[in-house]
């Protein structure tokens, strides 16, 4: 869309205006610091609740405090993948440049959260289960998710033409989306060593209120961090890919 005004005839915001890299670039630049600030505040609050307010667990003692980072990271690893696949699909369907850039910008953050979930889980597994790693359905499908992120990034990096890289990556991202419900429901569908969900939309969480509060604050902190990181990364990608355009040259001139 090339409309110059942000208002449509119906009076709402014209969202398509921001589907152009040139208009999205300053918007991302304005939003990113806000999300970074929210993330910083929530991380401090969440970690304070997690370490000083939340009580010790009756069974696991102090080691249960892993949930304040493990659970948010694991949720984010799945959610970011869904967001990435969504943007990849949008890019395929509408042939918009920015969608592919969003997918590319989300991948490293998603991979980071997947790695944190796996790594903290292993550190917790040794003292509680008695092992670092088992090949049960939940752990294996989460490891597959990490490889999907790596595969997506590697595939895109292997192609010189960014538009072709976007398309190839989009197909991989959409195929891999099947893995997300498998990760989430694995503890229900099969016998696994990993315990079932403590928090679900259907029933009250099976954990003490302060523990739950700390975890939810950490979840929002991770959300804010992921949004800030993706926006900053997408700005770099926009500059790289649009480097031959006039507006980037003008922008870089103002930054000198």
């Amino acid at each position: 869309m090339s409309s110059a005004t942000p208002q449509t005839a119906s009076g709402g915001i014209n969202w398509f205006k921001y589907s152009s890299p040139q208009t999205f670039f300053p918007l991302a630049g304005t939003l990113a610091p806000w999300f970074a600030a929210i993330a910083a505040v929530l991380f401090v609050a969440g970690l304070y609740i997690g370490f000083f307010v939340a009580p010790t667990d009756a069974q696991q003692g102090e080691s249960y405090r892993i949930i304040f980072i493990h659970v948010p990271a694991a949720w984010m690893s799945m959610l970011i993948y869904l967001a990435m696949a969504f943007w990849a699909g949008m890019g395929l369907a509408f042939n918009t440049r920015l969608s592919g850039m969003m997918a590319t910008a989300l991948a490293p953050t998603g991979a980071l959260f997947t790695f944190i979930a796996l790594w903290t889980g292993a550190l917790w597994g040794k003292p509680t289960w008695g092992t670092w790693w088992v090949w049960d359905a939940r752990l294996t499908s989460e490891l597959l998710l990490l490889f999907l992120y790596f595969g997506f990034m590697a595939l895109q990096a292997a192609m010189d033409d960014p538009r072709r890289a976007d398309k190839a990556g989009a197909v991989l991202a959409l195929v891999g989306v099947i893995n997300i419900p498998i990760i989430y429901f694995s503890v229900k569908w099969w016998n696994t060593l990993h315990q079932g969900a403590s928090v679900s939309l259907k029933s009250a969480p099976t954990m003490a209120a302060t523990m739950f509060t700390g975890m939810i604050v950490m979840v929002f902190a991770c959300w804010a961090y992921a949004i800030a990181a993706a926006l900053w990364r997408v700005r770099c990608i926009i500059l790289e890919r649009e480097r031959r355009s006039e507006w980037v040259a003008d922008y870089l001139e103002t930054q000198k």
């Binding site: 009756a58 069974q59 699909g89 395929l92 008695g130 016998n191 003490a208």
Partner: protein, 152 residues
């Protein structure tokens, strides 16, 4: 139909087809995807014969017996319907408790399960010790009430 509508339809159909294929594959491999077998499954001969497998369930209350050598332990794993006797030589994980979940790997020898590895399976309930005590007390009171009713 605009080209972009055709592409959306293609993507939706592709993902749906893939989901269906995955569902069928997972259904076919159902047996291989379970991490452990329950004592009921073992009793029904559903567990693999002649090779190592895992048994999971609750450690039966009052069944844990330590042998004089100090490292050999014997306990029963139950799913409340069937029970299987387990022998294990080695260090137990911290969360190994009577009445809590456990997953053991090993093989059947003369109806007894000789384990080479014992893992604790934690449940999804998180609560402070005071709350756990309160739950236990409430359950004990209920049990007493049930006993009085039954005895009368």
């Amino acid at each position: 139909m605009k080209p972009r509508h055709r592409r959306i339809a293609l993507i939706v159909a592709g993902v749906a087809g893939l989901a269906l294929a995955t569902t069928l594959v997972l259904q076919a491999f159902q047996q291989n995807l379970v991490f452990f077998f329950t004592p009921s499954q073992v009793a029904a001969n559903e567990a693999p014969q002649g090779r190592a497998f895992r048994v999971g369930g609750m450690v039966e209350k009052g069944s844990v017996k330590r042998q004089p050598d100090g490292v050999t332990v014997q306990f029963n794993v139950t799913d409340t319907a069937k029970t299987i006797q387990v022998a294990y030589k080695g260090v137990l994980p911290d969360l190994f408790r009577e009445g809590k979940g456990v997953v053991t790997q090993g093989r059947l020898e003369n109806g007894r399960f000789v384990a080479s590895e014992v893992l604790a399976k934690h449940d999804e309930n998180y609560m402070p010790p005071e709350a756990a005590d309160a739950v236990k007390k409430a359950q004990a009171t209920n049990q007493k009430a049930v006993n009085t009713v039954v005895n009368k």
